[in-house]
Amino acid sequence: MSAILLVRDLEKTFGSLVAVHDINVAVPPLQTVGIIGANGAGKTTFVNMITGHLRPSKGAILFEGRDITGRPSREITRLGIARSFQVPQVFASLTVFENMCIATAIAHAAGGLLAQAVTPLHSPDTVTEAEAALELFRIASYRQALAATLPQGVRKLLDIAMAVAGAPRVLLLDEPTSGISIEEKFELMDVVMAALKNRRITVLFVEHDMDIVERYADRVLAFYDGAVIADGAPIATLENPRIQELISGPKLNVAAAGSRHA
């Protein structure tokens, strides 16, 4: 079957520093890909290039066969690739509900800015859809809370929910569980993954916790020093001792140990 996301010879250099190079990946529809690697291995750079936050120095990115290399992020979003952020990007001074409404309203508003200037924000179907999304991500109880006051987990969920509002076909999650206590991690990922399956979305997620990867990924991309050093089924890849010490070193054991006890 054809890949929904195809990355060819992707390379990004900052001046003399080569952040990532020779990335070749083909992601089939509805697959869930875990991206692992030590800090600075190039994971986020990779995500930023696919979502148009960074312009690749070399190589090509194809989405549903269409070349999207170096397009601005808002276009890529409109095309159907959404993302969440390691540091959740929500509208701190608005309530959870308003955040969600805005996300859905934007997704709905056809045409350009001028069209959006005359479409009301709270149209019945945007509201119902926003409500539905909050239910789906299990954060409806925080409906009226200011985003600024949310606990980290909820903020992450809201961030993802907003990303999904545009009904993307591909979603990139940048460290969805970072800054979340080990106990909550799985809870959160269960909610997210269930929701994404429900919406039939292809997922790439950057993750440090190997148990999470093992549990949720159909496939693992291992980054090291800007290159993909392993690409395969989770178990096989994660068991590989060379990968283990190259990627995660001691961190894995601690995290793993912690979670096994849990």
């Binding site: 276009e75 509208f91 961030d159």
Partner: protein, 320 residues
């Protein structure tokens, strides 16, 4: 809710319009200028919600004022609607062009760049001796669809005109605030990245807000020119812009009505200050501003908000 405030606004508008003839003349002319300036403030509120504070909004104010003045001076055009339409179009165009530069800037850099632009216009106007340099020149009285009122009637017609423009702008702007694009102002301040990744071009959004605010400022300037019957380069000077920001803070970005109430309060304050403290009215104004910031941090507008909340609380308790 939205409907409620619209109905309320219409009532206030009609009431004031009906009361005008019974008000003392000085108050009417004071209110005319105050409301004309309020349109500029309304524009500033739009920008402030997005975290943008221009120190050069006087640029568009002056463009509007000078367009009207020049038309009455060099062309036969006298009809008030034509004059204002042209002024609005020109200031809109100016804002559209300036927007290409300004939309890329934020915070203090935005403020300073807009200041620089307005000061360049100021410099040009001062240099244009044909337009009386700093002395400026007079504005002929307009006609209203062929009707040329005199004396008191002229004053009232102008007041009603300004009032009508205020009502119209208030309605449109509050509708805009309820639209998708209008609702994005606060998000711009909170997280531009998220907006970009929701598929919104933040710079285009800001550009749109700049054009709206600039056009409002231009209409305000045009109306002010008609009521002062004189224009001069000071209308483009940075202190004029500062004055508008002053009123915006006094009013608060809370609600549309705040712009008008704030501007009226400001003009009245100034008038009282001039009257009772000719030598030291700045102390009076400065203190007024300080007290507002300290005790009404959300501006005069927050008073309405409080009232509304109280009303809601009452209605809740009323229906248990």
């Amino acid at each position: 809710m939205a409907l409620r405030s619209i109905v309320l606004g219409t009532l206030v508008f009609l009431l004031v319009a009906a009361m005008a003839p019974t008000l003392p003349v000085w108050l009417v002319s004071l209110a005319t200028i105050a409301l004309a300036n309020a349109l500029v403030v309304l524009g500033l509120i739009i920008l402030w919600r997005a975290g943008l504070v221009p120190f050069g909004q006087a640029l568009f104010y002056a463009v509007g004022a000078y367009s009207v003045a020049l038309m009455t001076r060099y062309t036969g055009l006298r009809d008030v609607l034509v004059l204002i339409a042209v002024a609005a179009a020109l200031s809109c165009l100016t804002a559209f062009l300036a927007g290409f530069l300004l939309a890329r800037y934020r915070e203090i850099f935005f403020a300073m760049l807009s200041l620089a632009m307005s000061m360049i216009l100021y410099g040009v106007l001062v240099k244009t001796e044909a337009l009386g340099s700093t002395d400026g020149f007079g504005v002929e009285q307009p006609t209203y669809l062929g009707y040329a009122p005199q004396g008191r009637m002229h004053l009232l017609m102008l007041f009603w005109l300004v009032l009508a423009f205020c009502a119209g702008s208030a309605l449109l702007v509050s509708l805009y605030f309820r639209s998708v694009a209008g609702a994005l102002a606060v998000p711009v301040r909170d997280s531009e990245i998220r907006l970009e990744f929701l598929g919104i071009s933040v710079s285009r959004l800001i550009h749109l807000n700049l054009v709206i605010a600039g056009t409002l400022a231009g209409i305000g300037g045009a109306l002010a020119a008609l009521s002062i019957e004189h224009v001069d380069p000071n209308m483009a000077y940075w202190t004029t812009s500062g004055g508008f920001v002053f009123v915006t803070v006094l009013a608060g970005a809370g609600s549309v009505a705040a712009a008008f109430v704030g501007s009226l309060v400001f003009e009245l304050l100034k008038s009282i200050a001039y009257d009772i403290l000719p030598g030291t009215w700045q102390i009076f104004l400065g203190s007024a501003l300080l007290l507002t910031i300290l005790f009404l941090p959300e501006g005069i507008g927050s008073l309405f908000a409080r009232l509304r909340r109280r009303r809601q609380r009452q209605s809740m308790s009323a229906t248990p």
